[in-house]
């Protein structure tokens, strides 16, 4: 295990008050000039010529803007050029000139067949990546025919109880070409095994697979509550996937460290930022403790943030996140590969900002939130649909949400310039303050004895619930305006169409499982489950056993059942 670098002046340092203005010690000139020419070369190499790069009025726009006195030491230290440490201005030299973000709408409902149809629809409309939503039974590691799943099958996402379901979801979709994100946490390793096995059935090599599993169990304890096992074995499973992906799936992101759910549970932007990065550090430490070289897995860690309504605060949050991560990875964890320093993230617009009242207003909210994510340099984006205060979105509503991203990408011109708001006095000040505030929270977590003790103590849940209650009071007192709810109400509500899930889905899914259980090779299933038990008990990486189980026809519930036996279950802390 590598010892973290002893100390660095950047960590937790107070940002200087005038970080927006530039001071110029002469000895920094050479290095800043070097940075500028390095950036020019990288930028020229990576963005295609062709699309108009001028304002609507025809004024030429440069790929970024920066202080005229570009030799300034503070510019290099606090901001840097895009694609350069500390990545405040973005992780790529030319940002969206080189490549747009991935437009990735979270989708899944009903049976594997219906979800397959929705995916083909979205790909046909120009979506560039898939994002799988699973139903609650799957999220909790139960098969569709488990008695606890009554009424839940296919409701909130697609039911995937076996390899057969995963194969159906991807029927006719080339798994070697599409990138897929799977929102799955407690049983993430099992669903990854189904995905790998399904790709193998399509004849696709493991090394060609591109995608992400969310696999962030820590935020489940803080906020999202879809845990299965206690923290320690859960972290072990996460590291098993890091290790497996580093060996076998070089293009896969084995984790998406998520602030989204923390924010949706009621946290502030600062809490979202700090808790998420603190979780990120915990995963880095867990990987290093396993004996993995930090540069072996850190480039494949990814993040997931919320984009809420406070436009500048959100943009500042994304910028601060990149800077904090870069500093800690380089200076605290001793990573040497620049890719380990880069915080890459997916964004979803804030579900909790949507209103059931006057649902068409949600289109406007989502557009502004999406714009903040783009101005903050996101790598992929989900835009919510206007009807999601009622149910999963209809096809028409999802199409409008996707169009929102396409309008931002192709009509507004914001993609021409990297970090176009960089240098705004307000934004730089907010970025500095969020960074300083996050460092303070990291110290608080340390003072509680580290992240696991803070979880046991209920610190995260308490903090988040406190912020949620404060926000609710603000809304109810009218100090926080929500248009159409507590101000300017009475507008056209209009009945909007809502997606219906056919109750027959549950019956069909049970029948499908019964058929699988009847026709599979029972002996092979048994021996694969025994191998899984042995790996889980003995400390070997569970991924090979899970993939063999998938091929053998073992179900999600059976494999998670074995892990439940070995690891035990977790129950909430019952604190409100």
């Amino acid at each position: 295990m590598r010892k973290p670098a002893a100390k660095n002046r950047n960590i937790g340092r107070k940002p200087s008050r005038n970080s927006g203005r530039m001071v110029k010690p002469p000895d920094r000139r050479a290095s800043a000039d070097g940075a500028l020419s390095a950036w020019r070369e990288a930028c020229a190499a990576s963005h295609p010529i062709g699309e108009r790069r001028a304002t609507l009025g025809g004024l030429h726009v440069e790929p970024i803007y920066f202080p005229v006195d570009h030799s300034a030491a503070e510019y290099a230290e606090q901001l840097g050029f895009p694609g350069q440490f500390p990545f405040t201005r973005g992780i790529h030299a030319s940002m969206y000139r080189g490549r747009l973000w991935t437009m990735r709408q979270f989708a899944g409902f009903g049976t594997a067949r219906e979800t397959n149809e929705r995916y083909r629809f979205l790909l046909g409309r120009g979506q560039t990546g898939l994002s799988m939503a699973f139903d609650f039974p799957t999220l909790m590691g139960y098969d569709s025919d488990h008695p606890r799943c009554l009424g839940e099958v296919g409701r909130c996402g697609v039911a995937v109880s076996s390899l057969a379901d995963m194969e159906t979801v991807f029927e006719g979709i080339p798994m070697g070409e599409v990138s897929t994100s799977m929102t799955i946490n407690g049983p993430a390793a099992v669903l990854l095994a189904f995905y790998v096995a399904a790709a193998e059935r399509q004849g696709v090599e493991r090394k060609k697979l591109r995608g992400t599993i969310q696999n962030d169990i820590l935020k489940e304890y803080h906020a999202q509550n879809s845990w299965i096992f206690p923290p320690e074995p859960s972290m072990r499973l996460a590291v098993d996937t890091f290790e497996f992906c580093a060996e076998e799936l070089p293009q896969w992101y084995p984790i998406s460290i998520s602030g989204y759910h923390i924010r949706e549970a009621g946290s502030t932007a600062l809490q979202e930022l700090a808790f998420t990065l603190a979780d990120g550090f915990a995963y880095v430490e867990a990987g290093v403790a396993r004996g993995l070289d930090v540069d072996r897995f850190a480039p494949r860690l990814s993040f997931f943030f919320d984009a809420h309504m406070d436009f500048f605060e959100e943009i500042a949050k994304f910028r601060a996140a990149r800077r904090i991560w870069a500093r800690h990875m380089r200076d605290r964890y001793g990573a040497r590969d620049p890719r380990s320093w880069m915080l890459r993230f997916h964004t979803q617009t804030a579900g909790c900002s949507l209103t059931a009242q006057e649902p068409y207003n949600n289109v406007v909210r989502t557009a502004l939130e999406a714009l903040s994510a783009v101005l903050g340099g996101t790598q992929s984006l989900h835009t919510n649909s206007l009807d999601e205060s009622y149910a999963l979105p209809t096809e028409g509503a999802v199409e409008l949400a996707l169009r929102t991203q396409q309008v931002i990408a192709h009509e507004t011109g914001v993609v021409s310039v990297a970090d176009p708001l960089g240098g705004s006095y307000y934004l730089e000040e907010l970025t500095d303050r969020l960074e300083a505030g996050a460092e303070e929270i990291f110290r608080k977590i340390e003072s509680l004895g580290g992240i696991y003790r803070a979880i046991e103590d209920g610190y995260f849940r308490r903090e988040i619930a406190g912020s949620a209650a404060r926000y609710q009071r603000e809304v109810e007192s009218g100090r926080q305006v929500v248009v159409g709810v507590n101000r300017y109400g009475g507008g056209a509500a209009g009945p909007i169409p809502v997606l219906r899930i056919d109750p027959a889905v549950e019956e069909a899914q049970r029948a499908r499982l019964a058929e699988l259980r009847r026709t599979r090779d029972a002996a092979r299933v048994r021996s694969s489950l025994d191998a899984l038990r042995a790996a889980a008990t003995g400390g070997a990486n569970v991924m090979p056993a899970l993939i063999e189980g998938a091929h053998a026809g073992a179900t999600l519930g059976e494999m998670v059942g074995v892990l439940r036996e070995v690891f035990g279950e977790y129950h909430e802390l019952d604190r409100v």
Partner: protein
């Protein structure tokens, strides 16, 4: 609110806690705050498999602050656990928060189980992500009131006071 664990285990919570009732300490302090009449006692809970508890915790807290005795069940309670808690706690009402889309199944089952236990007078209400067009069906199966997103806690407290107050139970 303070946890009351059924089993006095450590707070890692590895042991099963069903029905993991949580009693409101805030409301205990306000005993008889509503002027001598019997305090309204109700179960507020999460049934189904989803873990979205932001709303239910806010409602539980607000009802406790409004002087009611609130027993929060915790997450992922089965309909049987909810009905049993209503019986054991002698509750006048049960409020459920469901954001998983399983509202039609769960409300129906909870209503049946309450009735089977002779708790036909226990008022069942709830909220969550529930399409407006499902509300008539829910009402028909005996759900007294469904609150949508954006409802103020004051409105819910007024409803509970009006519907369950006045010494009816």
């Amino acid at each position: 609110m303070v946890a009351r664990r059924n089993n006095k285990s450590n707070n890692l919570g590895k042991s099963s806690s069903a029905p993991s009732a949580v009693r409101s300490a805030a409301s205990a302090l306000k005993r008889d705050a509503d002027g001598g009449g019997r305090r309204i006692r109700l179960i507020v809970g999460k049934s189904g498999l989803d873990g979205h508890d932001r709303g239910v915790k806010i409602v539980a807290r607000a009802l406790a602050e409004a002087g009611m005795e609130v027993i929060y069940t915790g997450l992922r309670q089965t309909p049987e656990q909810i009905a049993e808690a209503a019986l054991q706690e002698d509750a006048a009402g049960v409020g459920l928060s469901i954001l998983s889309g399983a509202h039609l199944t769960i409300f129906r089952r909870v209503r049946e189980l309450l009735d089977e236990r002779g708790l036909g007078d226990v008022v069942l209400f709830g909220g969550g992500i529930i399409p407006a067009e499902d509300v008539p069906a829910l009402q028909k199966m005996g759900v007294d009131r469904v609150f949508g997103p954006g409802t103020s806690t004051a409105e819910i407290a007024d409803y509970v006071r009006g519907r369950l107050g006045g010494g009816t139970k």
